[in-house]
Point group: C2
Chain length 483, copies 2
């Protein structure tokens, strides 16, 4: 009796001491402009996942906790790429995130139910590893906790203590599983932790039998993670084996192609009508379209885009000019601001410049570290792969002009009231780096021209020719995708 | 023949001249950090609403055009307050917005179909006028255009020129209406334009027979609107007849109430269990809960909030600390950042400080103009009314402590490692303005304590007492709302 009272006193003191440290460290963490801590809480039902979160809500400043719980996807989450909902809700720099039922939940659930094969599961774990490496590279410390109860303990909790269950918030994400089902979940979890325990983010198994010890342990882990982020700012991971392009793609273009005005008018009418028809195709309602326009300054991106948007219903269209990130965007991983702009089913998004800025202007101008642009190729490929696998038709255009043509257009712009605003000091500066851009462009084409999202290099010396080419390629791709 | 060719040449020249002016003015507009132009395009089917938008997409820099089209609400739009979807999509400062099927569409549709009475329609028009006045006060120039076709013209277009329809994007938002139905729409539109043509935003009727003249006219109107915004920065509208509070609400509070520890523990258990039960109520799935906590510094908001959030499922909970607006938020009307955080069905949002900052800290510290905080009371009431009418249970707490108690707590905070971070220079500064805050508080209570969202002033000299009071009020309000 006396012992138990001492115990309780000691526990209270321990809890209070931890709380002080956590709260102070959370406060320090908030000053970071880069980097955050994301904690995945997984594990058996009845192991107290919700109680763990409640402890943190009791300990920490609630305003900088980002708790998200993910069940099986519903509504729009179901129709967007698998990782979209996780991307959207990442914690901003300086804050803490807690995910209940993270990206592991769905694959594990499906494996346990026999809905996917081990091979498919393993492939999904690989995708997850790539995603987690990206988070790590972006300065997010990922803590993966598996709350562990033995079978007996689970049984006891489930049978004996209904009042406890009532007091807690039910987190029965596994539904009403039988003992045999649980065995399957456990097997799956074992495989999962084996496949996805990395140096940076190992799975940490926390015994959940004693709620006090459980919360103290997790509190310590989160504390250490925050301290690590505060004391060791994220260091760019060097990219091994990155190879510059072996070909000069631009040099192979035929810039001499031209389209006379009459023929242009005729073709424009033809392809625009074709595009209007295709956009009415009933199958488009279940697909989406994302167009990426890149090109040298004054290559005619805006004009080519307008010839396309003229044919599109403004209700389903967004044109995004990629500008400097907002302060909310700056506190998020690089690709976040593009993830938030991807098209929903039946919609069209046009990027007038895009996430490729990372490997073009940011690389050339030195706005990001070498390792950042070098790893961007792979990250972009994975981003695009998720989009195309989910039914987005992704078409990427590079409008190419020669250095001489650009100079001619700059001079014309200076003289034209309509176009003057388009020309800035920066454009003249960029021009001086022409060879660097050519190099960056060739690397981009080499590393990101994939089968499902190849680059289309369009000679744009003649604007009419370029406009018809983009329209034609778009129509043909839509036709193939829809018919 | 020769004449028609000259005409066509002249039209082309006119179009080009307008385009130059529009593009230059759009470029100037972009430099504004405050204010934008929002154009509502309404009117008959076949009057060319989509073509008008296409003209602007052809003329202007697409990246700063925000086109939205609203049909009858579906999905989440249907479950959120009526104006939510319009709030969310307002154009940022310096940009242009085009709304097709704006907030007028649904009431007009319903009136024409006989689904709402004239009285109800008129009341909705009043709500709209309030909303438009707010937009105007926030520096958004609202241009309301009604595209007009006579019956004959409509008939002709519909019957005779299917190729034209095919070339355009169908915008048949009115569905397949008969002539009699159209007559009803026209009657409703007449009433609508009468009721909602204001000095700041009159309805402008534009003949839509000739597409060239139609687009030229609208282009001119938009040009003038942009110029007006650029040349005359928004001037705060003085608020007439604003009256300070007639009572001292704080003085009436009994600060002596106390709760001994034993009783507190017992009551805490009781009310927290009650709250957990209530949150499981099946009817809550169709309602939502928004809690607003305000109070002097160190009044114990965080502690009271934690006693509540402990009982809530983290999956349906968000706690927002109201911080300085982000740069995206700064380019939007004041209430935008709160509209984007309102709870969806079945969810709980807690504001640890809120939009009331406008009439508290911003007023006292002079962060906004007198007219801004004076008009905020009415805007907040309308915001809250829309929430409560839509089924959100909104509960507002002011935690009140005396000046002496605050000083005591500040000193305790200085000494405590867990609480030290909570105390800033600003807190000491605020303290010096105690009488100003009392005045602001009384005005706030007087002007925003409405029947559906009254203020609860909680004496918080004793934290235990305050925590139990907030829990009890919350439980009782939930009980009344759900049972």
């Amino acid at each position: 009796m006396g012992n138990s009272k001492d115990d309780s006193k000691q526990r209270k003191a321990e809890r209070e001491a931890l709380r002080e440290e956590l709260l102070e460290t959370q406060f320090e963490l908030r000053s970071l402009e880069h980097g955050s801590v994301l904690v995945l809480i997984s594990g058996n039902d009845f192991a107290g996942k919700a109680e763990v979160i409640h402890s943190f809500y009791e300990w920490l400043d609630n305003r900088y906790l980002n708790t998200r719980a993910f069940g099986m996807p519903k509504g729009v989450d179901k129709r967007m790429p698998r990782m979209w909902r996780y991307w959207r809700t990442l914690p901003p720099a300086g804050e803490l995130g807690f995910y209940l039922g993270s990206w592991y939940h769905q694959p594990l659930m499906k494996l346990s139910r026999g809905q996917i094969s081990i091979n498919r599961f393993t492939a999904q774990m690989q995708d997850i590893l790539h995603f987690e490496r990206l988070l790590n590279d972006e300065g997010i410390i990922l803590v993966k906790i598996w709350l562990h109860l033995t079978d007996d303990e689970r049984g006891t909790r489930q049978r004996v203590d209904p009042s406890l269950l009532k007091q807690t918030v039910a987190m029965r994400e596994w539904g009403d599983f039988s003992a045999a089902d649980y065995e399957k979940v456990r097997e799956g979890a074992r495989l999962m932790t084996e496949l996805t325990s990395t140096n940076e983010s190992p799975w940490i198994r926390v015994p959940a039998t004693d709620p006090h010890l459980r919360d103290q342990r997790i509190g310590q882990i989160v504390l250490e993670a925050m301290r690590q982020r505060i004391n060791t700012p994220p260091v760019p991971r060097p990219v091994y084996g990155w190879q510059p392009a072996q070909r000069d793609y631009l040099a192979q273009l035929d810039y001499s192609q031209k389209l006379p005005k009459d023929e242009y008018q005729q073709q424009l009418l033809h392809w625009q009508n074709r595009l209007r028809d295709l956009m009415q195709h009933p199958r488009f309602a279940r697909r989406s379209l994302m167009l990426v326009f890149e090109g040298s300054d004054a290559a005619g991106k805006g004009g080519a885009i307008r010839r396309i948007t003229q044919c599109l219903d403004p209700r389903i269209l967004r044109v995004h000019g990629t500008r400097a990130p907002s302060d909310e965007e700056r506190r998020m991983p690089y690709l976040w601001r593009f993830w938030r702009r991807i098209p929903a089913d039946g919609n069209v998004v046009v990027f007038d410049r895009s996430y490729y800025g990372r490997v073009l202007v940011e690389r050339v101008e030195g706005f990001c570290a070498e390792s950042e642009w070098q790893r961007a190729y792979g990250e972009i490929n994975e981003f695009e792969q998720q989009l195309t696998e989910n039914g987005t038709l992704l078409i990427k255009f590079w409008l190419a002009i020669t250095e001489e043509e650009q100079l001619k257009r700059f001079k014309e712009r200076e003289a034209s009231p309509v176009k003057r605003y388009k020309l800035t000091e920066e454009d003249w500066r960029n021009r001086k780096r022409w060879p660097d851009y050519v190099e960056a462009l060739n690397d981009m084409v080499e590393h990101t021209s994939t089968r499902s999202a190849p680059w289309h290099l369009i000679p744009a010396e003649d604007k009419r020719h370029a406009r018809i080419q983009t329209l034609r390629i778009l129509c043909e791709a839509l036709e193939e995708a829809l018919e």
